[in-house]
Every structure is written in structure tokens, then in C-alpha cells.
């Protein structure tokens, strides 16, 4: 947090990150464990960056540190090179106008109409009434709520409320939009609608989005990059496709499993035949991501290595626009041949994971 360091930050180049969090730490009073334990992330202009984690992982604290609704104990928040932590009250208020925020429970004022809610940040920014009216109209059009301008939030559906929340967040033309579990209170259909709206707005307004969620669906649908947060630490980050097709941590693997559904249904293993004497059984999860996925790897393994292959489950899906396939098979055969088959598949650029292995006589699941 050296003062001289912050002054030395150069103006951002066009591809420089819009937002940088540097070693953010926060421990709540009365709590022994740190809520945020040295989090550093960079969000590039125009991208949708997701932070996924289970409840209690520190997501909520982290996103609140970005606009300093919560003050980190140590660490820096740099928005376009500006250290927000060093700003005085008025300068921080001005900086916050450049950061929109949408909330899980919408946080709309019940006493104001839709138009009144959207006008609130404009009033706070001291924008004159006539300009405000025009801008509110524009924003209503942007989120498709022109006909509900005079309705009160109590008369809106969840999806409509979040549209108001988004319009309100964008009222002051922010460069960064923070989304705090914006779709977690919505049903799946409405979630898809709101996510599509956020992506569309990102494209149209060249917005940068930082979102937190516990839903894999959200990350998979709209995020470009993702960080997996656990116990206040980023345990994995990168392109969504990479993180969830090649998860390194248990948590990421479990989130990936939510998406690909390749976990073994209960009882599957018990129903499989035992390996014959001298043979072994391995349950493999094969991930097809590249062009190699067009090869007939299963029949090849069966032919070349003499394996019996039993397909347990399979699925084709996409992350963003990148398709992938997951196949779970039970492979029976000579241990050496099974290992060779796995090597062969890996050589073809397939991801092969051993989910469960058993040799004759010993059941390991």
C-alpha cells in the first residue's frame, strides 16, 4: 500500500486491465479466519469476468471491496489505474458513479416507480431534471421496460425488477458493472434472459463486467474468464473453457461436474460386472475438446488393445461458443493394455481422468 507506488502507476494502455485487485485481505472483527486472504485478479476492458465459489468463500466481500462498500484491511483496488482506497469521500463518490452494481435482491426503492428508481443515481449525481427524464427513457428502452415506467416494484416480476436494477446501474454510464449474484433469486428461464441482456449490454455499451455467482450455469453462459474462490483465496483462474474442462482443484472439479454432469450416478459402479481374473476395470472420464474428438477412439481402443468398453454416460455441451464432449466409460482388460489405451487417447489430445479403478478381487470406488 505504499503511497509512492500508487503514484507511479502509469495510465492504462488500451489492453491494460480496467480493474486490478492487488493482494486484497480482509478479516472481520470477531472472526479468526480471513474472509479474503490475498486476492489478486485483473479484469480486462470489455470482458465478463466471473468469480465463482460456494457460500462463505468470500465472493460477496470481494465484490464489495471493488467499490469499497467494504474496506479491505490491506491491498489495492485499481480502477483504470486509479487507487480507489486513496480517494477522499467526494472523489470516491465520483468514482463510484463509474461503477454500476446490481444485486441479488434487486434493492429497489419500494417508494419509487420504475422510472423513479432509475432516476435515483442521476439525482444523486446532481443531473438536472430535464436531462434525467431523457436518460431514464433511454434506459427504459435499453432494458425493454418502456411500458412499465410508472409501475411500482411491488407489481413487477423478478426478471423485470432485475431489468430495473440493471437500468439503474447503467444510468450514470459506468465503465464497470458489478453483479452480485444478480440471477440467484430468479428462475432458470429468467436467469437466461437476464444473462443474455447483460451480455448484449456488454457488447453494445463496451461494458466490463465483474460478477460473482455460485451457479456454474452463469459462468458457463456468459463469462469469458473465471476465478474460483475458496476460503478467501483464488485457487484457479483462467479462460472459463480451460478452467472447467481441465479443473485442477477439487472445488473446480465439482463445479465442472455440475455443468458436465459426468459424476457417476449412485449405484452405477456396484452394478458393473467384476473384472475377470488377471484383468482390471477402470472407469474413465474422457473429455473431447479439440478436433481429435472426431476420431473413433472408443472402437480403436477396443480393437487395438482388446479392451471391453462399456459406455456409462455421455454428453455434448458448449462453454460460450466452444463445444466439448464428455464420455464416461468402464474399461475392462489387461492392466497393461488399459494403460496403453489411456496413453494413446492422451496422445490424441483427449483429457482422460481415472474416476474409479478396480482390480480383480479388490473393489476401489
Amino acid at each position: 500500500m505504499g503511497a509512492s507506488m500508487a503514484d507511479a502507476v502509469p495510465p492504462p494502455a488500451s489492453d491494460a486491465p480496467l480493474l486490478r485487485l492487488l493482494d486484497i485481505r480482509k478479516t472481520y472483527r470477531g472472526s479468526s479466519a480471513a474472509a479474503l486472504d490475498g486476492v489478486s485478479i485483473e479484469v480486462r476492458p470489455g470482458e465478463i469476468f466471473g468469480i465463482i465459489g460456494r457460500s462463505g468463500a468470500g465472493k460477496s466481500s470481494l465484490i464489495r471491496c471493488v467499490n469499497l462498500l467494504e474496506r479491505p484491511d490491506t491491498g489495492q483496488v485499481l480502477l483504470a489505474g486509479q487507487d480507489l482506497g486513496r480517494l477522499g469521500r467526494d472523489a470516491l463518490a465520483a468514482a463510484r458513479r463509474g461503477i454500476g452494481m446490481v444485486f441479488q435482491h434487486f434493492n429497489l426503492l419500494a417508494s419509487r416507480t420504475v422510472a423513479g428508481n432509475i432516476a435515483l443515481p442521476l439525482e444523486i449525481a446532481g443531473i438536472p431534471a430535464s436531462t434525467r427524464r431523457e436518460r431514464v427513457k433511454e434506459l427504459l428502452r435499453l432494458v425493454g421496460l418502456e411500458d412499465r415506467a410508472d409501475a411500482y416494484p411491488a407489481h413487477l416480476s423478478g426478471g423485470q425488477k432485475q431489468r430495473v436494477g440493471i437500468a439503474r446501474a447503467l444510468a450514470t454510464n459506468p465503465t464497470l458493472l458489478l453483479s452480485d449474484e444478480a440471477t440467484s433469486a430468479l428462475d432458470p428461464e429468467t436467469t437466461a434472459e437476464i444473462l443474455a441482456l447483460i451480455r448484449e449490454l456488454r457488447d453494445r455499451l463496451r461494458l466490463t463486467v465483474l460478477l460473482i455467482t455460485h451457479e456454474m450455469e452463469v459462468v458457463k453462459t456468459i463469462c469469458d474468464r473465471v476465478a474460483v474462490l475458496e476460503k478467501g483465496r483464488v485457487i484457479e483462474q483462467g479462460r472459463v473453457f480451460d478452467v472447467f474442462t481441465r479443473p485442477q482443484s477439487d472445488t473446480a472439479r465439482q463445479f465442472a461436474a455440475q455443468m458436465t454432469g459426468e459424476m457417476l450416478p449412485k449405484g452405477t459402479v456396484a452394478r458393473l460386472p467384476e473384472p475377470r481374473p488377471g484383468e482390471m476395470r477402470r472407469i474413465l472420464r474422457i473429455l473431447f475438446t479439440s478436433d481429435a474428438s472426431t476420431r473413433a477412439v472408443i472402437s480403436e481402443a477396443s480393437r487395438r488393445f482388446g479392451l471391453d468398453l462399456n459406455i456409462i454416460s455421455g454428453r455434448i455441451d458448449a462453454i460460450g461458443l466452444e463445444p466439448f464432449g464428455v464420455l464416461v466409460v468402464a474399461a475392462f482388460g489387461d492392466p497393461v493394455h488399459v494403460a496403453q489405451a489411456i496413453d494413446r487417447m492422451r496422445g490424441l489430445d483427449l483429457e482422460v481422468d481415472d474416476i474409479a479403478a478396480a482390480t480383480a478381487g479388490s473393489e476401489v470406488a
Binding site: 467499490n67 462498500l69 469521500r89 470516491l92 463518490a93 465520483a94 468514482a95 463510484r96 458513479r97 461503477i99 454500476g100 452494481m101 444485486f103 435482491h105 434493492n107 426503492l109 419500494a110 417508494s111 419509487r112 435515483l120 443515481p121 439525482e123 444523486i124 449525481a125 411500482y152 416494484p153 411491488a154 407489481h155 450514470t172 458489478l178
Partner: protein, 222 residues
């Protein structure tokens, strides 16, 4: 009523009703004008709030609680020097209004504080995220969002004031309650007592209905 009460008593009844209206009205106006800022102060300086400050919060809360602890009949007598300072006298309707206003201010401040505290913290957070100042949060979020609760608090206070004002007779404040005691009870005129009670019931019912209607109008929660 006019057939039951002789003309003198009718005039007295009207006069007393006017005194009650004056005492309650003035005390309520003072209570609202002073109680709202006091409630806001109590709220925003409370721990974890937008201007948390124990050095302000604790003494103010203690004073409000102290005023609320003293039984009204004792408060009236206890604040006589203060009453003289404000009203120039320690007896009469104007003098009775001073302790009434004092008690009502402490009473309504706590009710207002509760109503304001009911405003979802998420709304304050949303306003902060927009770059709102503390003043803006108070004016644009806390007070408008709490409006139905504030009106309900005013209704309760007005009704309590009508009751308290009956004790004003102890320091010559007059009013309906005083009339009921002096004529209805002490001079054995049950028809006066009945008239006073019926009138008070009508007033309280009217205030409550009016308050409820206003709360319904202000509330957009459905």
C-alpha cells in the same frame, strides 16, 4: 348531545375540545419536528450504520430513555422550571403543552427510529454504490422508504397524546379529560362524563382511520 347537556356545558365541552386539540396539535408538531432528526441521529450513529459514533449515540440514547422512563404526571412537575422558560408560566394550557411535547418527542423518536431501521440495509448499500452522500441517503432513501412507518408512528403518538393530555388538568391545562374529571366525576354529572368519553372515542377512531388510510396510500408494497 345538545339535548342532554345544557348550553353552558355545551360551550365548556367545545372549549375543552379546543384545548385538547391545541395541546395535542402543538405537542405533536414539536415532537415530529424534533423527533425525526433525533431518530435519524440515533439511527445513523448506531454501531455499523452510515455514521456510526458511540460518543454521540450513547448519551443521546440515554437522554431519550430517561425522558421515556419518567411517568408523565411526574414529568409535568419535574420540568416546571423548563416550562416557565418556554411558556412563561407553569400553569395553563400552554404550560401543559411543554411537558407533553417533551414526552411525545422522546416517544416518537424511538418509534421513528424503529421505522427507519426497518428500511432494508440493501437499499442503503445500493445508494452508497451510486456514490450517495450520507445526507442523500437520509433524504432520498431512508425517509421516503420509511414514510408509511413514520406515519404510523405519528398516528400512535397522536393517540397517546390525547390520553396524556387528560393529565394536563393537574397543572391547570384544561382539555377534555380535565372536564370529565371536574364535572363528570367531582360534580356528579354523568352526562358530561359520557359526552367526554364519546367525543374522545370519536377523536381516537378518527385519528386511527386517518392514519391507516394515509399509510395505505404511501405504502407501495402491496
Amino acid at each position: 348531545m345538545s339535548t342532554l347537556l345544557n348550553p353552558t356545558m355545551q360551550i365548556l365541552l367545545l372549549q375543552s375540545a379546543g384545548e385538547t386539540a391545541w395541546m395535542v396539535g402543538v405537542a405533536a408538531l414539536v415532537a415530529i419536528a424534533v423527533g425525526l432528526p433525533l431518530a435519524l441521529l440515533l439511527l445513523v450513529t448506531s454501531p455499523g450504520h452510515i455514521a456510526a459514533n458511540a460518543l454521540i449515540n450513547r448519551p443521546v440514547a440515554a437522554i431519550v430513555n430517561a425522558v421515556r422512563s419518567v411517568p408523565f404526571i411526574i414529568l409535568m412537575v419535574a420540568v416546571v422550571p423548563f416550562t416557565r422558560l418556554i411558556a412563561g408560566t407553569s400553569i395553563g394550557t400552554a404550560a401543559a403543552t411543554v411537558p407533553l411535547a417533551l414526552a411525545a418527542t422522546a416517544f416518537i423518536a424511538r418509534l421513528f427510529e424503529t421505522a427507519l431501521r426497518d428500511v432494508d440495509h440493501g437499499l442503503i448499500e445500493a445508494a452508497q454504490a451510486m456514490g450517495a452522500s450520507r445526507g442523500q441517503i437520509i433524504r432520498k432513501v431512508l425517509v421516503p422508504e420509511a414514510a408509511p412507518g413514520l406515519v404510523a408512528a405519528i398516528t400512535v403518538t397522536l393517540i397517546s397524546l390525547v390520553g396524556y393530555s387528560a393529565m394536563a388538568g393537574a397543572i391547570g391545562g384544561g382539555g377534555l379529560g380535565d372536564l370529565g374529571i371536574r364535572f363528570g366525576y367531582q360534580r356528579f354529572m354523568p352526562e358530561v362524563m359520557a359526552a367526554v368519553v364519546v367525543l374522545l372515542i370519536l377523536v381516537v377512531q378518527g385519528l386511527q382511520s386517518l392514519g391507516d388510510a394515509l399509510v395505505r396510500r404511501l405504502s407501495h408494497r402491496q
